[in-house]
């Protein structure tokens, strides 16, 4: 690979500044004593964090978000893996259509998906419940899990599974001892990424959450009332949580340990 020239470095620095400066600013102002985000900065304080996290609705929203993200990631990863494995293992008619449908949800406009989910979930009486949000988020997150598992399966020597059968493993045993261990990094990665998708998701959650607000929904509600540095404090926590999940997911996908 060619080394990056000076211009390249400047370009990269500018790009990352452009992307991360607003987030960095939000983090900086979350520790700033001034009421409004202006320069020069006041003095360092954790007061906004203390205030934000003393509000019961913040804790409730965090708890909601964590439950939804946790359950969503498990269900979405399970369905995503099963879908990817079906694609890997079987040839059938309309397979292209099957794949297109399976990967469709993230390409739908979120407002449309949110409205549709709201209409449908209220029909079945799940609107405004955590279960409703979970269902909506599973729909959104599953394609990501599937894409990750599919990538991993595509790196697998197809004889690996047959080799397990050949050595005495039945289909389920081969799944347990060969396919799952091979896909383990992808599965962990899919769990992290789908959790992050759910944890960050605002639009659909806003439509279907009702009184069970998740963190992004709560942030908007506080913001509609007034601009308050508490938002920066909550935002910093949300950002760190999501980033950790995404970084963990990337790490699992790209590390070159024990892969064939």
């Amino acid at each position: 690979m060619k080394a990056l020239g000076a211009l390249g470095w400047i370009y990269l620095a500018a790009l990352f500044t452009f992307v991360f400066a607003p987030i960095a600013a939000s983090v900086v102002f979350s520790f700033n004593s001034d009421r409004f985000p202006t320069l020069p900065l006041g003095h360092f304080t954790t007061d906004w964090y203390a205030r934000a996290f003393s509000r019961p609705e913040v804790w409730e929203a965090i708890s909601n978000s964590l439950i939804v993200a946790g359950v969503t990631s498990v269900i979405a990863t399970f369905i995503g893996f099963a879908t990817a494995y079906t694609d890997f293992r079987y040839g059938f008619r309309f397979k292209q259509a099957y794949l297109a449908l399976a990967l469709l949800p993230p390409t739908l406009p979120l407002v449309i998906l949110g409205l549709a989910m709201l209409a449908w979930l209220s029909q079945v009486g799940l609107s405004g419940t955590l279960t409703g949000i979970i269902i909506a988020h599973v729909v959104l997150a599953t394609p990501f899990a599937m894409a990750i598992c599919r990538l991993r399966l595509s790196q697998m020597d197809p004889s690996l599974e047959s080799a397990a059968w050949n050595l005495g493993a039945g289909p389920w045993t081969a799944m347990r001892y060969v396919i799952l261990p091979f896909c383990a990094p992808a599965i962990v990665s899919a769990l992290c990424l789908t959790a992050a998708v759910s944890f960050d998701e605002f639009v659909v959650a806003w439509f279907v959450s009702g009184l069970n607000r998740t963190v992004p929904v709560l942030i908007l509600e506080i913001l509609q009332g007034n601009v308050d540095p508490q938002i920066n404090a909550i935002g910093t926590v949300v950002f760190l949580t999501s980033m950790s999940l995404v970084v963990a997911a990337q790490f699992m996908i790209f590390r070159r340990r024990r892969n064939g």
Binding site: D157, S159, L160, S162, A163, A164, W165, N166, L167, G168, A169, G170, T173, A174, Y177, V178, P181, F182, A184, R258, N259, G260
Partner: protein, 347 residues
């Protein structure tokens, strides 16, 4: 004679409209080293996969020890396969790979570790048991794959072009390892390959397949010196084929008329490259005229390529000193001659 270990009876295998194997009849005996050889798409790998239960015959029957195996799933058979890609499990250590078959048979931790270690020792892999697969060389991986397949002490081992990914010098060494192993264990090896040098070097019997059918079965020498069809003669390589009409012991062919020991009528004769003599002056007996094209250094000598006036390619194997004596230049014409008693008449 004892009952064969494996019998294929009128086995037919089709994938959609594509027929991979046509009415195959084949007996595989206990303790023999059998090579299935043919060009790609000849059905040899499909035959092997049917034996392992990875494909089901469309019709016909495959029996192992007299039991019809058509519907027995792969994991209920004792037919371990050494894969072309080796298919070692990358997430397991060397010893865990070797243990896999024993583990699937529910053998306890201690015993399977002991038995796996025994095989690693036998394959000269002691000290490598905790390595990961990607830390091994090609030859070491090959031996891990062998140990993994043999640890359950099967009566038959299937091998699907296992040496095709190795360097040439390793191939020769592994051929030695395989033949010795097969003799020591006394089990049946069924070896699929497209390489005649591998098949002829190792196998007791060679099955030549073409277009889903068996073209010829025999000992390597029989097939090498006595190909039964043009397909076999061409596939086995370094053979020259002369076709024509025989009348009173003389064959009229597009390359010239030569004496042959064949009855009157149409005939095809095979002249092996190592039985062709190249000379500038016309020798007595069977000889045809051809222009020198090029030479190729092969393992056992030099193969010279010639073209006859009607465009047929002829091969002659010569030694290095013979080649320098000839001082052959491209386009020069020579006489190619042979002893009519040492050619093979096909049919």
């Amino acid at each position: 004679m004892a009952e064969p270990l494996v019998q294929f009876r009128a086995v037919h295998k089709a994938f959609g409209t594509y027929v991979a194997v046509k009415s195959l009849d084949l007996d595989i005996h206990r303790g023999e080293f059998l090579a299935l050889m043919g060009p790609s798409g000849c059905g040899k790998t499909t035959t092997l996969r049917m034996l392992a239960g990875l494909e089901q015959p469309t019709s016909g029957a495959i029996t192992i020890e007299g039991k019809v195996m058509n519907d027995v799933p792969p994991h209920h058979r004792d037919t371990p396969l050494v894969w072309q890609s080796l298919a070692l499990f990358p997430f397991l250590s060397v010893v865990e790979n070797v243990e896999f078959g024993l583990r699937m048979r529910g053998i306890g931790t201690k015993e399977r570790r002991d038995r796996a270690m025994l095989w690693l020792d036998r394959m000269q892999l002691k000290g490598f048991e905790h390595r990961r697969i990607d830390q091994l060389s090609g030859g070491q991986r090959q031996r891990v794959a062998l140990a993994r397949s043999l640890v359950t002490e099967p009566q038959m081992l299937l091998l699907d072009e296992p040496l095709s990914a190795l360097d040439a010098h390793l191939v020769i060494r592994m051929q030695g390892v395989l033949t010795r192993l097969q003799k020591e264990l006394g089990i049946t090896f069924v070896y699929v390959t497209h390489s005649q040098s591998e098949a002829f070097a190792m196998a007791d019997r060679v099955v030549i397949m073409g277009h889903g059918q068996i073209e010829q079965i025999g000992r390597p020498q029989e097939i090498f010196r006595g190909p039964r069809s043009r397909f076999v003669a061409e596939f086995v390589g370094r053979n020259n084929i002369l076709a024509g009409q025989v009348q009173a012991g003389v064959m009229q062919s597009p390359q010239g008329s030569v004496p042959v020991g064949a009855p009157d009528g149409p005939a095809e004769i095979v002249v092996a490259a190592d039985r062709v003599t190249v000379s500038r002056d016309r020798p007595a007996g069977a000889a045809i005229r051809a222009a020198f094209l090029s030479e190729e250094f092969a393992g056992t000598g030099i193969i010279c390529y010639f073209e006859t006036p009607d465009g047929a390619e002829w091969k002659a194997q010569v030694s290095e000193s013979q080649l320098s004596d000839l001082q052959a230049e491209s386009g020069q014409e020579f006489w190619l001659s042979w002893d009519p008693a040492r050619v093979h008449v096909m049919g």
